[in-house]
Symmetry: none
Subunit: 219 residues, 4 copies
DNA sequence: GATGAATGAGTCTTCATTCAT
DNA sequence: CATGAATGAAGACTCATTCAT
């Protein structure tokens, strides 16, 4: 078992857990408005006064809850960053892998569906993260920490397992992970950013990706 | 043969060709400084005064050459957007495909190496484009036009050719193109943004990607 | 009876009535400073920073109350433009004319004294209006509306009345009005702009003008 | 005979005489453009770059001929200010008055027609002078000097002559002059600024003004 | 003589943040 | 706890003027 308070993530996680409760109606409005404006105009292009207006609160009210504009950004972005790694924390891979008859395709289907759902439900905030990550060192560190401690370690176990089973090619696990993530991310970008209005059959596209990855990574 | 002046791109292309010459030393400094600052802080987060200072010119000088800050952005970004599609215009696919003994792996090797080189040489500007494309409709339109008229039409021909040859799977060409681009982009992002300081063996990574794609798209 | 809210002027009038109250000390200072600076340097020659300094507020404070420099100009100028026509609205001519024994000289005395008082109390703002009216179409329209709907229609009644009485010459009423206004304006300009420091006996000058006008317009 | 070089006006007069000749085509274009822009936007609201553009010359060229923007203003405005008093200098009143049978109406007809013609031919520049005179002390001084030394002294003679003849009322000559000028100016403003597009019968309007003034100033 | 690139002070305006109410 | 007036630093952009060519 992972100790959840053994690193800086515990702070984020706390925030994450507080998110749903403890929030007044005004605070929720502020967060909702901020997500909308940040995602539409970018952090630097957004003005706190526009957020206040959209949230229906006074300009000063924002600063009563969030010390600075940047703190507001992080309040929005942190839970989603934690969420990036959360499901993999919760549904422990190890237990998954212990189940019999789990092949690589099933494994891919599980993560792709799960992560696709996550992206679908967090489009706006993920867009904010993607847009701002270049400009905020702290963001980079948060994401990096989640990625390495929460995701990559688990992924590594799974990949090595399937390599041992002879199901997938013996490339470095980072490379394999990158190829998998690129495929998912490429779909997400096309699906939600480039052509959101096109008719999409997500089920089928996911199966196509699984087949592509299974074949591409076969030994 | 494509007529290069048959659509709105000709304007961009003209700009592109003028770029290298006709520029005073000061103008070059402004562009260089602007690329640096835009890429480091984002368009909205960059200040014209910082650009001026970095370029060693007076702030007014910037506005003598570029009517607005936004015009400066587009002067930087336009040639690279044109460049996105340029090589595929020049080295005509059709002629490539007429050569005998061209298989899908060779085809992939050609575009991946070419585009990888392009990305390597235009990292900063491509980063700016990626960061700003959400916020500037004109940018979206420019990129879309290049992508559809210059790239996708050519790619389609190639993909259909290899499908006829029975080399690759009979998926819609957009799907195949997306899987290829995702793989390249995923590498570029990891290579240049996430871990630029790591030791990379580009040759080998490219071969890995080619093998992955060839296997993944096999019939 | 005139309905005061029967046209676009009602908005101006509202502004006018709000003017005196509802203003913080700082706003009053801003207006006072702006009147001084606009009147001394002209609108285009005035800088908001000078106004702010003279008003003892931060420059940003001006823009919290007035969206733009031009809006500040109009806030100053609108009530006075309304005031141009106001007294004639209030003291209804018709009722004046119904009184017996009102001759043309009395009529002139009434308007000249009233308007002279108005000019005396609004010198700075009237100077601003005179200086800026060429450059702002909206100003021209506002003044034109007040002049035609509030003043000329009333004046016309009076002039026609005195013409019927055989007291004044049968020229078009616009001509007669112009000759009257020119005489008043000519005095005001000399009195307040050209030689403000000279010793003036306003009572006597007004009687001179009345005699001049009565004789000049006699049948 | 007046000695033309006995005061500061000689400088202006020299400028005035140089005006017609000694001017390159470019200089004439600059002056023409400057008159247009100053009159349309006011001195402070006009930009030298717009003037240069309208004149078809480089920005620097203006400053080769006129040290500063203000010097350009004065180059435009000075000859017309001199012209304000010029005709009265040339056609000497004294000689006019010596002719027999000259009555006050004829006198008025002469100056009104002359000055009306002058105003008609110098509308744009006179508008500039009127708009700028509040903001430039030197302008005020120039106009004042012309008015007092060139005009008022002559007018005084004429007025006193007609007073001696018993033709006009025994008011101070300044008052009489003011009433005359107000009447002319009031017409000019209405005629050229307020309703320039209306159909005007100048001959008739002038006769109306003469009759008005003759009657108004009768003993 | 004419040009136009370069300047840097100055313009109006916006913005994140504070604080008295 | 929320407000919104006030701030002043900083923003993009303009302008009159200079000067090397």
């Amino acid at each position: 078992m992972q100790n959840l308070s053994d690193n800086a993530l515990s702070i984020l996680l706390q925030q994450y857990l507080e998110t749903e409760k403890n929030l007044t109606e005004k605070q929720k409005n502020i967060l909702k408005a901020a997500v909308a404006v940040f995602s539409e105009k970018g952090f630097a292009g957004a003005s706190t006064s526009e957020i206040a207006q959209k949230a229906g609160v006074a300009e000063g009210t924002i600063f009563r809850h969030y010390k600075t504009k940047k703190a507001l950004l992080f309040s929005i972005v942190s839970p989603t960053i934690v969420g990036l790694g959360a499901p993999i924390v919760l549904k422990d891979f190890e237990s998954i892998l212990e189940k019999q008859y789990v092949d690589f395709a099933d494994f891919l289907r599980t993560i792709i569906k799960d992560r696709f759902e996550f992206i679908k439900n967090n489009q706006a905030i993920l867009k904010i993260i993607a847009n701002e990550i270049s400009f905020h060192l702290e963001l980079q560190q948060m994401v990096k920490e989640i990625l390495t401690t929460r995701i990559m370690t688990k992924i590594q176990l799974a990949i090595e397992y399937f390599q041992e089973q002879g199901e997938i090619v013996l490339l470095p696990y980072e490379t394999i992970a990158r190829l998998i993530f690129s495929t998912i991310a490429g779909y997400a970008v096309t699906r939600f950013l480039i052509s959101p209005n096109q008719d999409w059959n997500d089920e089928q596209e996911i199966e196509t990706m699984i087949e592509f990855l299974v074949k591409g990574l076969k030994t």
